[in-house]
């Protein structure tokens, strides 16, 4: 709930601030709450301090929750994998096998080459993103309030509302796309793909003139792949989280608005179940498609 001492905008800003740990230069931050005389590694007391850390900051909450959820995913599936036999499957194994068959089918549907990496990659992306998105359904104040009790002032529990998380995965996928493009087509083939299309001519001189135009077009479309992957997921989750926060503000505006807000939150949460699954699925499917494109000559 928005505390008495917080205005709505402060409440929102508070919810959108990560728990940042980084190298903070000397200075006076957070309206005099955090005064740093010697530059050093420490927690940021507010968004302003986190910004001052620059690239050296690391979001502890994002790292923590993403690792916890990832480990949860790996633990469950490792358990299923250890129990996996050709015999009659139990409950957990059934679930894991169902998920794996679903992923396997998606990969078979969109990926036509042979690559041992793509299916496990897709499984990791789908389940991990799904779990991280799922944190969005935890009421926005529960975990921040609990962490406030143990003295942690900032806690953003949905890692996918942090562009670092989504870009981290998207860049991972992008590196794979580049790696397989070069591995399958060779450096020449990859460069050719970037420069000799979509415009081409039978006249070599005209072809040379086309090279910069082609390169600009193809390079933009190449870069757009990871950027769109990351921003789509980030945007969806950030917007969803924002709406939850806005709904939460209604709780402090009287009984009627509070009840109405509760109804809205329920509705949005139910709708959000669709979004979090869909976004995880889209990220996975586009990853498969991009990797498939990397394996094919145009």
């Amino acid at each position: 709930m928005a505390g008495d001492t917080l205005t709505s905008s402060e409440y929102i800003r508070h919810h959108l601030t990560n728990l940042a740990y980084g190298n903070l230069p000397a200075g006076n931050y957070c309206d005099g709450h955090q005064v740093v005389t010697d530059a050093g590694w420490q927690l940021a007391g507010c968004g302003e301090a986190a910004k001052a850390m620059g690239f050296s900051a690391i979001h502890l909450d994002t790292m923590f929750w993403s690792v916890v959820l990832g480990v949860l995913f790996l633990y469950i599936f490792k358990k299923a994998a250890d129990a996996a036999t050709a015999g009659i499957p139990g409950g957990l194994q059934n679930f894991a096998e169902w998920v794996i068959e679903f992923i396997d089918q998606s990969v078979r549907g969109s990926f036509s080459s042979r690559n041992e990496l793509v299916a496990p990659l897709s499984l990791t992306i789908f389940i991990w993103i799904f779990l991280m998105n799922l944190m969005d359904l935890v009421p926005v104040d529960v975990i921040p309030a609990l962490s406030q009790l143990v003295g942690i002032h900032f806690m953003k529990v949905v890692p996918t509302t942090d562009p670092n998380a989504t870009f981290g995965m998207a860049i991972g996928v992008f590196i794979l796309v580049l790696f397989y493009s070069i591995k399958i087509k060779g450096v020449g083939g990859f460069v050719g793909e970037l420069t000799l299309q979509p415009f081409s001519s039978s006249n070599p001189l005209v072809n040379v003139l086309f090279i910069p135009i082609n390169f600009i077009l193809e390079f933009v479309s190449l870069i757009a792949k990871p950027v769109s992957l990351a921003l789509r997921l980030f945007g969806n989750m950030y917007a969803g989280e924002m709406i939850f926060i806005l709904i939460a503000i209604m709780y402090s505006a009287g009984t009627f608005m509070g009840l109405f807000g509760g109804l809205l939150q329920l509705g949005w949460a139910i709708f959000h179940i669709l979004i979090i699954t869909l976004q995880a699925f889209i990220f996975m499917t586009l990853t498969i498609v991009y990797l498939d494109m990397a394996h094919h000559e145009h």
């Binding site: 900051a57 979001h59 994002t62 790996l74 599936f77 996996a84 990791t124 870009f167 995965m169």
Partner: protein, 156 residues
């Protein structure tokens, strides 16, 4: 939107998770699935084979039953034939034996009859002679009526 060290951290985490999934999750589970698929396929094939074999066995049993029935009826026919033969043989033997016994009995009867007739004739002759003697002794001279006595003896 602060892009910072978290990006690198997330990237590394992602790589580790993918590696772990690939090595310890995906391979064993898909392996188990593949194995199960194979064992199910084997089971179905075995079931089909069993069914086929059962059909063959049924066919064979039918054949055996048919053969056995045929044999049994053959044996029965033979036995009946043999029985008829035996009866016929026995009948023939009995008839022959009967005939033989009958013939023997007849010839014996005939012999007995002849013998009895012979004895009777002798007894009557002797009786006649004795009667004649008594008569003749009383009235007539034996010598004078010798002829008559002889002719009488001859007539008997």
């Amino acid at each position: 939107m602060n892009i910072n060290l978290t990006l690198i951290g997330q990237l590394l985490t992602f790589v580790v998770f993918v590696w772990f999934t690939m090595k310890y999750v995906w391979t064993p589970i898909t392996g188990a699935l593949e194995e199960r698929r194979k064992s199910i396929a084997d089971g179905l094939a075995a079931g089909e084979r069993g069914q086929h074999e059962q059909e063959l066995a049924k066919e064979r049993a039918k054949q055996v039953l048919h053969d056995a029935k045929g044999q049994a009826s053959d044996i029965l026919a033979q036995a009946q034939k043999r029985a008829a033969e035996i009866v016929d043989e026995a009948k023939t033997n009995a008839r022959q034996e009967g005939d033989r016994i009958l013939t023997a009995a007849r010839s014996e009867i005939e012999q007995e009859t002849n013998r009895a007739r012979e004895q009777l004739r002798e007894k009557v002759a002797a009786l006649a002679i004795a009667g004649a003697e008594k008569i003749l002794r009383k009235e007539i001279n034996a010598e004078a009526h010798q002829d008559i006595v002889n002719s009488l003896a001859k007539e008997i």
